[in-house]
């Protein structure tokens, strides 16, 4: 299946984040390219949805629906923000190590921050990324049970791996 773009998974993103996300600006943790989520490259193949950077091709998000909920791996993203330039610049400073979700120093993912969106901003029932909080997906804290957030996961379904083999 040919890739589509982030516009086409707006509904899935609402399931995952609790709000409209396609107009939100994303920053790739690998190359630093910044663009609206709508402009990211999306591969829809079972069992999950793989989202890649349009500049460097690295995986920035993996979403897997599990019943009524969605597991999200954002380890390829440096940030999501509803501030700033909503278009590709390719000139942002890259986080060379790739973002480590457990690193409190890293760009806005683990820390409440004026600019970051639901990540780190208390937000009623949404996924409360960055707000360490017992039950939730806990982006700010590695959590054995949650799905490979912040921790590249070699074994799982090979969704984080570049996949040359279209289904």
């Amino acid at each position: 299946m040919d890739p589509i773009d982030g516009n086409g998974i707006a509904g899935l993103l609402i399931d995952a984040f609790g709000k409209e996300m396609t107009a939100v600006s994303s920053t790739c943790a690998t190359c630093g390219a910044r663009r609206p989520v709508a402009e990211l490259v999306v591969y829809q193949r079972a069992p999950g949805t793989v989202v890649r950077c349009r500049t460097c091709g690295n995986v920035v998000m993996v979403l897997v629906r599990r019943g009524d909920s969605v597991d999200v791996d954002l380890s390829g993203l440096a940030s999501l923000s509803n501030q700033g330039l909503p278009y590709p610049t390719g000139t942002q400073v890259a986080n060379k190590e790739g973002i480590n979700m457990s690193d409190e120093q890293s760009m806005s993912m683990g820390q409440p921050d004026e600019e970051s969106m639901s990540m780190g901003q208390p937000d009623e029932e949404s996924t409360s990324m960055g707000q360490p909080d017992e039950g939730s997906m806990s982006m700010g804290q590695p959590d054995e049970e949650s799905m490979s957030m912040g921790q590249p996961d070699e074994g799982s379904m090979s969704m984080g791996q570049p996949d040359k083999d279209p289904m």
Binding site: M1, D2, P3, G6, A10, G18, K19, A23, A38, P88
Partner: protein, 247 residues
């Protein structure tokens, strides 16, 4: 216009199919009557969910074809190897029911207050959300001038052909036919490229707002071409669909 449903939930609902109208040999417009529709913005889409008897579920996203305030409709191209579109375009009939949710999407949307001039670029069925924008422009009595460049394989593949021919007042529609042209065709031919864009698109100095929708290769060429002409990237909004995806 924020959706008023419970935050974090976009509820599925069962809509009645009001009508199915063929636009071309492989494209149909499906008018729907969902019980709970918050109203949409031009360019948004909705998700359709089909559940097979064995429980297999397929979901696709389709652009909304109707303008805000009009009865809800989607226009779908039948893709022979698709999971969902052959059902929607071919089997679905007026009086059937269809599970859907929406409206969805906050990026590829245009409201008359966003201004323009509007530069719309459509590849194939990518014209669907742009048609919603053009209708919204007319319905809202917007004085924003608009141009649509529509790339289709042949004249018989042009969706909304009659309707697009009626946009006169401040809107101009041009076509490029990539594979076949009817006898006496005086419009453009071949795939879009820089020189066609330079000829058809608003000059960058008019500060246009561009929306491009179509297959990925079309969108990439069109977006790069507009930026080359001096359009600021943040005023070039794009939406891509794959060969077997929805929309």
């Amino acid at each position: 216009m924020e959706r008023t449903a419970v935050r974090g939930r976009l509820s599925w609902q069962v809509a009645a199919v009001v009508s199915v109208t063929w636009e071309t040999a492989s494209v149909a417009t499906i008018q729907l009557d969902p019980p709970d529709w918050a109203g949409h913005r031009a360019g948004q889409h909705l998700d359709v969910r089909l559940t097979a008897e064995d429980g297999y579920v397929a979901e696709r996203s389709y652009s909304i074809a109707s303008a805000p305030g009009e009865p809800l409709a989607i226009t779908v191209e039948r893709l022979e190897d698709g999971e969902v579109s052959p059902y929607l375009v071919g089997e679905l009939r007026a009086g059937d029911e269809l599970e859907l949710r929406g409206p969805i999407g906050g990026y590829f949307v245009w409201e008359s207050s966003d201004g323009g001039p509007l530069m719309l670029l459509a590849g194939g069925s990518g014209v669907v959300p742009l048609r919603s924008m053009l209708r919204h422009r007319v319905n809202s009595r917007s004085d924003v001038p608009a141009r649509l460049l529509y790339s289709a394989r042949g004249w018989e593949d042009v969706i909304y052909r009659d309707e697009l021919g009626q946009h006169h007042d401040g809107a101009r529609v041009s076509y490029t036919l990539t594979r076949s042209q009817p006898p006496g065709w005086t419009g453009h031919t071949g795939r879009i490229n820089s020189s066609l864009l330079a000829e058809v698109a608003w000059p960058a100095k008019t500060n246009p707002l561009a929306y491009i929708c179509g297959p990925t290769s079309f969108v990439e060429t069109a977006a790069a071409g507009l930026v080359e002409l001096g359009y600021p990237p943040e005023r070039v909004k794009t939406e891509r669909f794959g060969a077997t995806g929805g929309r």
